[in-house]
Structures are given as C-alpha cells and as structure tokens.
C-alpha cells in the first residue's frame, strides 16, 4: 500500500494509478465512449458524472475487464496494460461494484463473498466472518452472512456488494451507482469510508446521478456526455466553489443549461376531494422470502399524489403488485372510481384505468430481446389500432412508437433495437411512456426515477405532477425521501408490511417521516 504522504502532495502530482488514453468503445449504432482521456490518481475520489447512456458504465466495463476498448490504451501505473479479463482486473487491484447486481441469488452472503477463491480450496467461511465484521462495522452495515442472497432486499444486496469490493484490498475501488439503494444514513457512511480509503492512498471512482453526493464526496469530477469527456473539475476548483455553484457548473456541462427547475413544486389539487382509489384492509400472506401485507388501508383522491415511504423491502413491492393484480391477496378490497377491483386480473384492472409502473425494468417490465417499438405496447397486445382482428399493423405501431420515442426522449439507435440494449434510464422511459397511455385513472409508480439522470429525473417528476394535474390518482412509491417531499400531498410510511402512519406534506414532514421509518412515533 502506498504511503500516507500521497495525500499531502499537490493534487496534480499524485500518483496516477490508472490512465485512460483516448479510449473508444463502439456498439452497433453507437459510440459509447469516444476518445476518452482520464487519469485516476491515488488519494482521490474521482466522481464520474453524465446523463443516462453517457458511457459511464461502458468505461467501467473496460476498467474491470468486461469489455475491451476498440481504440486507445489503458495504462496501469504508467505502463500500457490491456485489461484482459475480470480476474486480470482484480489482480491489478481494481475492485468494482457494478451498476447491476452481481451476486449469485441462490448462494448465501458468505458464499458470495468467498466466490473467486482457487477452486481446489475449501471456502474459508470462518475467517471471512471476522474480516467482514472488521470492514462492515465502521460502515454501519449489518449483514447476515448466512442469509441467502435472494432473500435480501436490493438495498441489502448493494451493501453486500460494497463489502465484497472492500474485502479485496483493491488499489482502485469503483462504485457504479452504488448509492442508489442506500438510505441517506448509509450514503453518508459510505462517503466517510471513501474518505478514509483515499487517505490511505487508494483511488475511488464514484458514479452517481445525485449531484449533491458528487459535490460532497468528490475530490475531482469528470463529466461524460454522449461518450465524450466534456469537462473535468479539479480538486482546487472543487474546493473553491460553493455547493450550488458547483451543481450549476456540472449541470451546464452535462446538459448544456442551468439547473434550478428541480425545485419543490407540489401540484395543486382540483377542488373536489373524492376518493378515486380506495384500499381497505388489504392483506397478503408472506412468502418464503418476501414479507406480507397486513391490513393496509388508504385512499387517494382525484389529482392527489400519495407517497409511500419506507426502507426498501418493507412490503412496497407487494403492495404495488397486489393493487395491480399480479399478486394474490388474502383479503381486503380495492375500489377504483367506485368500482371494485377485487378478483379482477391484471388486464381487467388495466382496462378500468389502473396502471402500474414496475421497478424491475429488465425482469418484468420489458422483453429484452424484443424491439423498442413492441415494448411500448406490451400491455396492449391485440388492441386497436395496433392490432386489428388480431393482425399486427406494423405501420401503426411504428408511427406511435416514433411519437412516444420523441415525446419521452428515448435515446435509441432505432425502433427495432432490442430494448435490452438501451441504457437503464432509457428503458425506464419506455416504461413510463407505456403506462401513461390514454385511459389511465390511477397510476402506481414504483421507484420511477431510480437510475435516471438529473434531467430525466426532473422530466419524469414533472410528468408525474402533470398526471396528477389531469385529475388522476397517483401512488408514488420511493425510497428517496427528497423525491417524495418534493411532489407528494401526503406521505404514508410503510414498515414491515404495515402502514405505520400518514403525514401531510409540509414543513417538518421530512423529519416526521424519517421518525416513522425507523420505528418512532411521528
């Protein structure tokens, strides 16, 4: 491990661990990285910013040996060194937390952490426990080593991945949107940890869409746009700027305009207060590795946005699925505009105007190998004008798909591109476009802005506000408290399958929600 003194050197003199030299990566129809130069130095948290599809993950893929650059060089400690494979990357001291979960769901946490040992060895699970404890405790992470990963919530899984990356004693630690599932508390702890690591002389690459985090934790910020590096803000300048100025500067680099439209604006509600979506005593039996729901009751009025807050894995997904008709209920009733939805299947509920935006875009939201165009209409198969007498009308489909692509700013090489090849954020836009198609009365949004960049996040939030403004009922499930506070009329808090309280948005609401989330009275 390099000495402590590295941190005391002037920033530009610090030792470069990894250097990217004119790195280019092409995919069919797109240049994901275009002659990117980047120097990653020991002792720095290097924040990588960029809108969805800017090429951040692609860059990380090359650093961790998953992808090979088409052009350009990667230098390690100043020497050109093609990173041939993930194991080569690991042996070079590059540890990565990937954007998409890289844990084996059927193995336990301990087994996942042990993965990668020599095949003839016995996994040393005992030894592991001690080391995990050593690493996790200061982070405030508490993981059960014997739990099977598929039983963990996505947030917990992300914690496991962070611990795994730290276990490796890497010289360069890469975190690709590793904070997206963490609680504010967890994010703060991670920030502190990154600080300690770079003080020991490591380098950290930190990718996030939350500019606040970038400003707070970063020593250096690089901005990617359309695959090119469009700017870099060094440590000196970073320190000299005020938080808001910094955000403005980054935003203008990323999007070519100023921020500022991300302000809190809760849409007005139409005068009438009739309950559009009413849920009474909804129950779901717990599954083998999912929590159930206990006596959930709430109402959402016309034009109202009801937020559902809570730490991930407390029954939010079960609630959304039960409402959408995807999950068996064990009692209770749901009415939409006075019509009972009980016993109706997914399709019927949709016909009556209930829409559900899933948080699992790849798993159930889309068919990855199907073209973008078809994925827009996955929930309308057989309906006119796209299908008439059961026959597909490609012209109609393509015309509408083109409109939606423009309207929702979906970045795709073509309408026939398999949707799975789009970046996560762009897949999300396809889903949003689909759910807001005509005929909606109540929409359930499950983590609608997860993984979206700033501009898209703001656009999506505005769409949700517009939806409410048109008199629809909106149920907004999110783990991002700020998001809820910026949009909702009321916020309900879920904990262990129950609604533990509902709070009207306004001054001090954030604090009261936070207290409810951790089990205190509001």
């Amino acid at each position: 491990m390099p000495g402590m003194q590295t941190t005391t050197k002037p920033p530009e003199m610090r030792q470069a661990i990894v250097t990217l030299d004119g790195v280019t990566k092409r995919f069919p129809g797109i240049i994901a990285n275009d002659r990117v130069d980047l120097v990653i130095r020991a002792g720095e948290v290097h924040v990588l910013l960029g809108e969805n599809g800017a090429g951040k993950s692609t860059l990380i893929g090359m650093l961790s040996g998953l992808q090979q650059p088409d052009e350009g060089r990667i230098l390690i400690d100043g020497k050109a060194m093609p990173i041939r494979s993930p194991s080569h990357a690991l042996s070079l001291g590059i540890g990565t937390v990937f954007q998409h979960n890289m844990l084996v769901p059927s193995l336990t946490v301990a087994e996942n952490l042990a993965l990668g040992g020599k095949w003839w060895q016995k996994p040393r699970l005992g030894e592991l426990a001690a080391r995990v404890d050593e690493i996790a405790r200061p982070l405030g992470i508490n993981i059960n080593l014997d739990a099977v990963v598929s039983d963990l919530s996505l947030g917990e899984q992300q914690q496991v991945e962070i611990v795994r990356a730290l276990l490796r004693n890497s010289r360069l630690l890469i975190l690709d949107e590793a904070t997206s599932m963490l609680t504010p508390q967890g994010i703060a702890e991670l920030g502190a940890l990154m600080r300690r690591l770079v003080e020991r002389g490591l380098a950290v690459v930190f990718i996030t869409h939350k500019l606040g985090e970038a400003a707070e934790f970063g020593d250096r910020v690089s901005v990617l746009k359309l695959g090119r590096k469009v700017g870099e803000i060094g440590p000196d300048r970073l320190r000299s700027l005020e938080h808001d100025e910094l955000v403005d500067e980054i935003v203008s680099k990323m999007f070519g305009r100023n921020a500022g439209d991300g302000a809190i604006s809760i849409p007005d509600r139409p005068a009438n207060d009739e309950a559009l979506l009413a849920v009474r005593d909804l129950r779901v039996l717990p599954g083998k590795d999912t929590s159930g729901l206990e006596a959930i009751s709430f109402m959402v009025g016309r034009g109202e946005i009801l937020g559902v807050a809570g730490i991930d894995g407390n029954g939010q997904k079960q609630l959304a699925e039960a409402l959408a008709g995807q999950r068996r209920t064990d009692g209770g009733s749901v009415t939409l505009a006075g019509r009972s939805l009980d016993g109706l299947d997914v399709g019927k509920r949709r016909e009556l105007g209930l829409r559900y935006l899933t948080d699992d875009r790849l798993g159930e939201g889309t068919v990855g190998t199907f073209p973008v165009s078809i994925n827009y209409f996955l929930k309308q198969i057989g309906e006119p004008p796209f299908w008439r007498s059961g026959i597909e009308h490609s012209r109609e489909i393509n015309t509408h798909a083109r409109d939606l692509t423009r309207q929702f700013d979906v970045r795709t090489p073509s309408l026939s591109t398999p949707v799975g090849r789009l970046s996560g954020g762009n897949i999300q836009k396809v889903l949003i476009a689909r759910e807001l198609a005509e005929g909606a009365r109540a929409v359930i949004f499950n983590k609608p802005t997860y993984g979206l960049d700033l501009a898209n996040t703001q656009a999506t939030r505005q769409r949700i506000r517009d939806v409410a403004g048109q008199g629809l009922a909106v149920l907004l499930i999110s783990t991002d408290l700020e998001e809820l506070l910026s949009m909702c009329h009321r916020i309900a808090v879920m904990s262990q399958g129950r609604l533990v309280g509902t709070i009207a948005n306004g001054a001090g609401a954030g604090e009261r929600v936070g207290r409810l989330m951790i089990g205190l009275a509001a």
Binding site: L90, P105, L107
Partner: protein, 311 residues
C-alpha cells in the same frame, strides 16, 4: 421348487436392478454437474455410446476391465470436449449440438461395429466382483448388493463425493454460480468458460464410464444402439434431482428396481401383456415428476451461453 421367491432369484433380481441402475447413476451424476454449471447437455447419449464402444474396445484388446473403463471415460471426455468447444466456448445452441452429437455417434459406432465386429461379436469374460467382507454374506442382500465390480462401489462413492464437492468446496460454489449467474462468477475473477468446460468434460467422463459399464459389465459386449436412451433418462434424473446427487442415486435405483420388477412379474407368471408391464419404469419416473417435480427451480442460466459483457 426353487423358482419364484427363492433366495438366488431374489438376489439375482436385486443384482440386476443395481446393474441396470449404475449406468443411469453415472450418466445422471455427470449430467447434474453440467446442469449445475448452466449447460444443458443433451449430447450425453452420444457420450455414453462413445464410451460404450471405446470402453469395449479397451477392455477387449487389453483384457483389462479397468483399461476399458479408462478408454470409455476418455472417449466420453473427447466427445464432451467437442461439445464444450462448440457450446461453451463458441456459444452454439446446446440442443442442436447435443442432438447432432448423439445422432453422429450412434451412427459412427454402429458403422465401426459393422466393419469391425459384426462377423464375430466378441464378448468379454464375466467382470470380476469384489465382495465386501462380511456384508457379502448376508442372505439375499449380500450377493445382490455387496458382490459387484469395484466400479459399482466407486459409483456410489461418487454420489457422496459429489455431495461434498457441491456443499463444501470452492468448486461447488463456482459451479453453482456458473449456472445461476455466470456474470457474477466472472467478475469474481473465475473464468466462466473454463468452469463450464470442466463441468462438461466431467459429464463426458461420467457418461463414457456409464457407457463402458453398460457394455462391459452390463452386457459383456458392444452392439449398435446399446445405450437405448439411457442418456436421456440420465437427463431426466438429473433434472428431477435438482442438484442433489442422492436423488440421482434414488432415481436410478427406482428405475432399475422397476425393470427388475417387470422381470419378476413375468417369471412369477402374472399374465399381463408384457408391453403394459414394461411401461412401469417410465410410469414410476413420471409419478416421481408429478410428486416431486414442483417448482423445479433449474439454474437460471441453464442453456444460455455466457458471453462476457453481453446484454
């Protein structure tokens, strides 16, 4: 009269059940490892018949059963290497290649047999048995269960070895990861292609061994198409067992037992059409599927070639 229910007869039935079960056990254990690692090895029938032919050649020309097992396993591995190259390294469709290999090797061995042995039909001497001291003296069960060729005990021991590998070793973790989430294994620094290749080669070895046993010990000779679908039964057993070696053993024994029951019923003179009786082993497996096949969670990446960084 001796006949039905005599000790010798019962012992022979049980002995026959074991002999019939061993090739299925070996093939099933082998297939299980491929499946665990995410490769649906439909070519196992081809690997078995290659093992049967090469195993017979080895034993016949060397006079040693052990050499026969070695050549049988080697032939299975050779076929598996082709499968691994095509399906694991290049990522070709596993069902296409599997069926093609099965067709090709059934045809090829039949051809070779035609030119080499079809005028002489050579046969091997009886396989030497290794009685297990004491146990072999138990009436009925002794001669049925504890007087077999050493390879039989090894096959059963392999069940426990596999359990140990799957539960206790790093290799077990790697295999499971290769089948469930190969990308996770890859980024942990383990080569997915190599892991899967090893699993497929193991399958080939076991299938080849199973074929060699079938030809050398089971029949004492090679004839074309001698495996008769045993490889496909191995696939069924492996899937039914869902990663648990003991279940493969149980399934193989049940199948072998049912085969012996059909013989017993006939020898007992029960007058049921033989074609009906002969459906019993398949009905037994089908019943096991209905009873225990629920939510058969196969490895998530089963049958899907791994390509690094693909999406």
């Amino acid at each position: 009269m001796g006949g039905f229910l005599s000790e010798t007869f019962l012992a022979a039935l049980l002995f026959g059940a074991i002999t019939a079960a061993i090739p299925l056990l070996l093939a099933g254990l082998g297939e299980q490892m491929s499946e665990k690692a995410g490769v649906l090895n439909i070519g196992i029938e081809g690997m078995m018949i290659a093992g049967a032919y090469a195993g017979f050649l080895g034993a016949y020309y060397s006079g040693s059963f052990w050499l026969g097992f070695a050549t049988g396993a080697a032939a299975g591995i050779l076929v598996a290497a082709l499968m691994a190259l095509l399906c694991v390294r290049l990522g070709l469709n596993q069902i296409v290649i599997g069926i093609a290999l099965t067709l090709g090797l059934e045809g090829l061995t039949a051809l070779l047999h035609h030119f080499q042995f079809s005028r002489s039909y050579p046969r091997l001497p009886a396989a030497q048995v290794t009685p297990i001291p004491l146990l072999a003296e138990i009436p009925v069960f002794g001669p049925a269960l504890f007087r077999h060729h050493l390879i039989v005990y090894l096959a059963v021991a392999a069940v426990f070895a596999m359990i140990w590998v799957y539960r206790r070793t790093q290799l077990g973790l790697n295999l499971q990861a290769a089948g469930d989430k190969p990308a996770a294994l890859d980024v942990a620094g383990i080569d997915v292609v190599r892991t899967r290749t090893a699993a497929v080669l193991f399958t080939g070895g076991m299938a080849g061994l199973g074929g060699a046993y079938l030809a050398n010990v089971g029949a004492g000779l090679f004839i074309p198409f001698i495996t008769n679908g045993a490889g496909f039964l191995g696939i069924v057993l492996a899937m039914l067992a869902r990663g648990r070696p003991l279940w493969v053993l149980a399934g193989a024994l049940i199948f072998g037992g049912c085969l012996s029951l059909t013989t017993a019923a006939q020898v007992a003179g029960i007058n049921v059409p033989t074609d009906v009786i002969q459906m019993v082993p398949f009905l037994a497996v089908m019943a096991m599927l209905v009873l225990f096949g629920r939510r058969a969670s196969l490895p998530a990446a089963l049958g899907i070639p791994y390509e690094r960084g693909a999406r």
